[in-house]
Amino acid sequence: MIIQLRLFAGLKEPLGRDAIEVMLTPGATAFDLKAAVAESYPELAPLLAGTRVAVNQTFVASDARLAPGAEVALIPPVSGG
């Protein structure tokens, strides 16, 4: 399945993009997603430590399974406030 994901903050800069696509097997998890991003977009790999995955605007655990059509985002360690 193809997953579209939104990028924010420092993750936008290496590629100059605010969204990317990765190809995942059905039933892939958030952990698998980050591994796929690192492999398909090596410029992002060094920035993924501590990055969380959000699905439909909610943080998910590493073992959460992803489904096509959901809004997925990579959330780098936050720095609001």
Partner: protein, 137 residues
């Protein structure tokens, strides 16, 4: 009141929103852009938000505050865009009958916002700019 805004935060409107006849205590925390960090001069901060999720997380924080403490009103406001030293980046406001709940809830509100809300700051120094991470995150 939950708000992400690119306009300067209106503190008069915030106080007017929080005040109520039932509230004897009103506590507002405002976070301002500081002129230094890690021993170096800071020229300004750019704030970016994943706005839809940030509002959702801020709403969850507000609901948790109402659940844990007896509060009248809660406001969480964050500004985004390019901010100068001294600008107010965030406001967490509480009104309650009595001050213990107001102080505790306010502290919880800002501490949790800094850990859980998808907003990021890019710090501009003389030598360049970098995206920061909160220790709470």
């Amino acid at each position: 009141m939950i708000r992400i805004t690119s306009e300067p935060i209106d503190l008069n409107a915030l106080y007017a929103h929080l005040a109520s006849p039932r509230s004897g205590a009103l506590v507002v925390f405002t976070g301002h852009v500081r002129d230094h960090n890690e021993g170096q001069r800071v020229k300004g901060l750019d704030y970016e938000a994943y706005a839809e999720m940030a509002e959702r997380q801020m709403t969850l924080i507000r609901d948790a505050m109402h659940e844990r403490w007896p509060l009248e009103r809660v406001a969480l406001i964050h500004r985004v865009g390019a901010l100068d030293v001294g600008d107010v980046a965030v406001a967490v406001g509480i009104s309650a009958a009595h001050r213990p709940a107001a102080f505790e809830a306010c502290r919880y509100g800002i501490d949790t916002l800094k850990a859980e809300v998808p907003i990021w700051k890019k710090e501009h120094r003389e030598a360049g700019a970098q995206w920061l991470q909160n220790p709470e995150a």
